[in-house]
Amino acid sequence: MIDREFRIGMGQLLVEGGEPERNLERVTEIISQSANLGCDCLLLPETLDLTWTHPSAKTEAKPIPGPYSDIICQQAQKHGLFICAGLTELAGSKVYNTAILVNDSGEIILKYRKINVLDVGKEFYAIGQSLSVVETPFGMVGVNICSDNYVDAVDIGYTLARMGAQLILSPSSWTVDYNLIESDNPYGAKWFKPYHHLAQMFDLTIINASSVGVIHGGPYEGKKMVGCSLAVNANGVIVQGPYNEFAGDLTIANIKLSKRLETGTDIGTMLKRKNGHLKV
């Protein structure tokens, strides 16, 4: 494990419901852009192929590995950077809301299926059954997805932290009502609170990249996604992406991960000392 600063791009991708080719074209562009800007790793949103809870998830989802993940792997290899991205995965007769972490050789080194699926998402996505972390040149990385970091689901983050994660990457589709405007604070403390709690408890860094765009189709029609992606460590917000609902953006942060001192049962002792476990 190399103890060094690394450069991550938070890619707030514009996603259009049920338009995987158009969405993946933008993925290719933003990968190239982030490589040109010297990123070591690029984080992309949840279900970036079809858009979160778009009805096409039921008919258009592809396996992983499959055509959409192949594009991401090829681009990772071509540009020599790590990419974490959310895709809609067809596995047998089930569809999962999945995230992959691809290394700079274009290999999928971690695949995670979302566990804390919202009620409105259950008609589209099955529940994931495992969590894992993987060692990378930047440190130990865990992956979860969007509402896995809800304040009442923080045990998912706890588990990744207990597995040694120094960094949690979280492809997301944070949604808001259609009538929000740029001067509003779109989420209040909804996301910052659990992110900061995890970061403080375990001295880790947690980063998301959220989609932008109007939600066309599905149970969340009438809502939209406005970015404002977040990178948080124990000291607070490292960087936040801009508010936008019609154009993608790339926000870059230079991150140095903290060493995780406690392992195994030491973590329980540490949590007791810190008066751990979030009060929900």
Partner: protein, 402 residues
């Protein structure tokens, strides 16, 4: 052998265009209207003085405010250039984008880059997609060529709503009669009562109620009276006062703002692809007929080139984008076929405000002289250029009788 319809000797308007009439030299009434507008908005020192005076008024009125005006933006050429010029004039605009769910991502990037480079704040007014979709489908079912009526009206109401929210009195829009032309009424008609009627007949969900700062898709006469008469919000078309040459403007905004052409004219809105396809196949309308006519009149395109282009399907009719629009609206092939096969109608087939506008034309003329309403709107709706002589005579009789 069939006779070809008469074509204006100066532009591309032909006898298939509603209310097209030709003088003894073969020149059409649309050209006459263009010349009239040209005189009202001369590209001379007088025209420069007029726009200078407006700019001074905007600055004076907005002196104590965060912004002094609103500019409607879409990421297309016209609105991007309007924003660019406004900053050159020293204005402090708030850029307002109405997002009805069909924005072209290329145009979105243009807005982001332009506002960032010019240091202008953005305000995005997003339609409730359920309402937006419902109205688009209702307009398709109404079977008139006004397929984007809801978006056109939504843009206007969004601009008024933000003007109220920010207590501003000036709205600038990037429109130019010298490059866009003037659409025949039967091909492009807009009023709030008409949309409300279509929604009532074909809409699937209720619309949210009007609020001064959040009008949604409501812009009826009483709402207009509030914005224009009571709040005295003025709508200015700065490009009318400028030598506006598309090729030169493209070069400027590409160089200064990294602007990227979002496809064909109207390409800033993906829905225009489906709209153009339906206009051409169902209504036998090609909007380039009056768009390019304007470019010919203003010397930016030769008549021969324009007529030649009309022989081909427009570049905007991208089959992939047409499919995207159909999918996004949730239409089945059967529903689309029914829409395409339904008998052609016009706004005259639905209750609308036309006769009211004609009745109150002196008031509207007064408002247009104060720039409270664009002069082009007054000329289009209240003068006789684009209506049949019979309708013009009968509406005059009704006005005299009252």
């Amino acid at each position: 052998m069939t006779n070809s319809p008469q074509i204006c000797t100066r532009c591309t308007i032909n006898a298939t265009v509603p209310q097209a009439r030709f003088d003894e030299n073969g020149m059409c009434n649309y050209c006459a209207l263009h010349d009239e507008m040209d005189k009202e908005f001369p590209l001379t020192a007088e025209g420069q003085n007029n726009i200078d005076k407006i700019i001074t008024d905007i600055k004076t009125t907005g002196r104590s405010k965060k912004y002094d005006c609103i500019i409607g933006v879409s990421g297309g050429r016209d609105s991007t250039y309007t924003l660019y010029r406004a900053k050159q004039w020293g204005l402090r605009p708030l850029a307002v984008y109405f997002n009805d769910g069909f924005g072209n991502p290329v145009a979105g990037q243009n807005m982001k880059r332009a506002t960032s480079k010019l240091g202008v704040e953005m305000r995005t007014i997003t339609a409730d997609w359920r309402e937006s979709k419902c109205l688009k489908v209702a307009c398709l079912k109404a079977s008139t060529p006004d397929l984007n009526l809801s978006a056109d009206l939504g843009i206007a109401s969004a601009l008024y709503g933000v003007a109220v929210a920010e207590n501003l009195r000036y709205i600038l829009i990037g429109q130019s009669f010298r490059t866009e032309g003037i659409a025949p009424l039967e091909w492009n008609y807009l009023d709030g009562k008409y949309l409300a009627t279509i929604h009532k007949q074909f809409g699937a969900i209720p619309l949210r109620k009007w609020r001064p700062d959040d009008p949604g898709f409501n812009l009826n006469l009483i709402h207009m009276a509030y914005y224009v008469g009571w709040r005295r919000i003025r709508t200015i078309t700065p490009l009318y006062y400028l030598q506006y040459v598309r090729s030169e403007v493209d070069e400027i905004i590409t160089r200064e703002l990294d602007w990227v052409k979002p496809g064909a004219h109207y390409g800033d809105d993906l829905y225009q692809s489906l709209l153009s396809y339906i206009l051409r196949t169902k209504f036998k309308i090609d909007r380039r007929r009056y768009n390019d006519a304007a470019l010919v009149r203003s010397g930016q395109m030769t008549r021969e080139t324009a007529l030649k282009e009309l022989e081909n399907v427009g570049e905007i009719e991208d089959p992939n984008v047409i499919d995207l629009c159909i999918k996004r609206l949730g239409l089945t092939q059967k529903e689309l076929n029914e829409i395409l096969d339904a008998p052609v109608k016009t706004f005259w087939d639905y209750p609308n405000l036309m006769s009211t506008l004609r009745r109150f034309s002196p008031v509207i003329k007064f408002f247009s002289k104060l720039d409270l309403i664009p002069k082009s709107s007054y000329k289009k709706y209240c003068e006789d250029h684009l209506v049949s002589p019979e309708y013009a005579a009968s509406s005059r009789e009704r006005a005299d009788f009252q």
